[in-house]
Subunit: 201 residues, 4 copies
């Protein structure tokens, strides 16, 4: 238990925090509970994280990094921006379906915080949103997507994904998320499709 020990314990605390925040919400969760779940002493948390807020921040950071990396890999081999967008939507919800607990933190608890924390959390989401925006920009640049404001569309798509995931989580995961992913992909791909070429006979 040296260097690896440290990293492992940090990870264990983050895992514990993820579970506890997901099940109780960030505010209702207590540091003591996270400590118990991680099988460390209360004080130990503070050797790895500055505060409860910091714990959430680092948790979201870790999840976002993993999500970004994974999404990157999924999108890399795809050439067409339209297909990229479609893959983005489907893969995002696939991840939610695969790790609902992690998703819970990113989706639901993310906004549970005072304004300061909220701003910091938004900052952490940026790389992910940037990926989405780049797809849109490229689609527009290549002329395969309508020239709508990429930032507005990015927010729209992200909000849609978020809301669908939230509904799925809140309703106890009772509907088919993959099917919803298809619907969303069609909706947004259709919404961004260049319509003029079709009108030409």
């Amino acid at each position: 238990m040296r260097e690896t020990g440290r990293a492992e314990k940090r990870a264990r605390i983050l895992e514990a925090a993820s579970r506890v925040f997901a099940s109780k919400g960030f505010f209702a969760a207590t540091v003591a509970e996270v400590a118990r779940e991680a099988k460390v002493a209360d004080g130990t948390i503070y050797l790895y994280f500055r505060s409860k807020d910091d714990l959430l921040l680092r948790l979201v950071e870790a999840r976002m990094n993993a999500l970004c990396r994974a999404m990157q890999e999924v999108l890399a081999p795809i050439e067409d921006p339209v297909e990229k967008l479609s893959a983005f939507i489907r893969y995002h919800l696939e991840m939610v379906e695969r790790s609902p607990e992690e998703a819970q933190v990113l989706i639901v608890e993310l906004r549970q915080s005072g304004p300061d924390l909220k701003r910091e959390l938004a900052e952490l989401m940026r790389p992910y949103l940037a990926m989405l925006q780049r797809i849109l920009e490229e689609g527009i640049a290549r002329g395969v997507m309508r020239p709508l404001d990429p930032r507005a569309v990015r927010h729209a798509i992200f909000g849609a994904l978020d809301e669908v995931a939230l509904a799925w989580l809140l309703r106890g995961r009772r509907f088919d998320l993959a099917q919803n992913a298809e619907q969303l992909a069609e909706l947004f791909v259709g919404g961004l499709a260049q319509t003029s070429p079709r009108s030409t006979p």
Copy 2:
């Protein structure tokens, strides 16, 4: 100061709660602060509301009712479901722009709560979401919208509106919300448009 007095004071407390919750977040806000803002004693709050949770619930209820009524009136004279949807999107964000503080509560604080409260809040949103869904169902029924799953699309549109509004609020209202509304309207109207008829010469 008889019947009007009571209702006015209740409204004053709701106004105060709206401001305080918006600026600090529901959890960080204290009942004492709401009382101070409303210029009543701490205990007075409890003559009008059962608890802090109830205060949020009633606040969201009031705002939702107003929003539903207003939206109803806007949509009533419109016949075409596609135009109705377009109007829904534009008017929703128009309201956000007009009363950002109220929106803050509906959009941001709405999810700040333990799971129990969250469920009750979701319940309060239902009539509004139902309106949106009905537009989609009618559009599909009349054959002017693609037969996508109305529930999925409803979530998508609502999430998109929410996220755009949230971004606008968090960034200090620095971009043009009306313009974004146009973009969203185009995006979703396009995404729902029946494409096949066009391909027929």
Copy 3:
């Protein structure tokens, strides 16, 4: 509703207080509850009583007065101090059985109070205890009771009655109080009986 009105309302409040204090305990009971039970406004209580403490004090006072008067009448026609004592014991528990709610206040709630209030309450009990003591003193003077310290015996008898009544009330009035009264009467009459004269042939 003039002079009689006042007295009647005062009595109504006392009745209400009796019921509420009996069912909840003096501390747990609220003035608002008493007011509701008496069908008067909260503030009205304070037109008739100085404070919540005063309300209890006046309630006990009224009950003690009634109890004293009734006991007085019961004992008046009895000549023999031993029979008087026996009647006192039986009648005391008879009253408890007849009006358990009033008894509850006198027995149980009587001690629920800070030390100041407690002293004042003890003061109110004095006339009743004095009656008992006088019986004992006369019995001793006449040589029909053993010359035990009348004050000590008075406390003993009163404590015994109190405890038996308390047990009866706490156990949900499930045993026969009259039978217990007989037992107590025998016990104390026996305990106070002059034994030596009898042994002389």
Copy 4:
């Protein structure tokens, strides 16, 4: 300061609670006051006790256990049930005289509580009352006591002891408790004495 430290602090809090409850009454006493008296932080109380109610419960429990053990030892070497009863009465009041503060809690505050707490407290008294009842039952069985209902007599004796102790405490311990104990012992021993043997010359 390991195992002993914990137990000692718990004991210190109980001592403090005993003093504070005795001087102010359970209801009027505040947890903050107990904490101050015990020289610990407010929150520390809750590391050792679940609630203010629990604090009283555990306090009574500890006192009752000690009382039972001590009484057990006193009675063990005594054979004759009549003498046992006499010793019980004298020793009970001796204990009150020796530790008036502890007695205050057991006697006075014991009934200061809502009905739920009251029932739990009554439960804690049972072993002690059972000891008393057993003495009576044995006395009756051996034919050295009159066959009065042991439960009724038990209540009577306990109530008498309670009341005498209460009076002594409320009057500022101004009369001789030991003397009263003698009187009570004579009273009850006399009351329970088999009278028939006396008639034999």
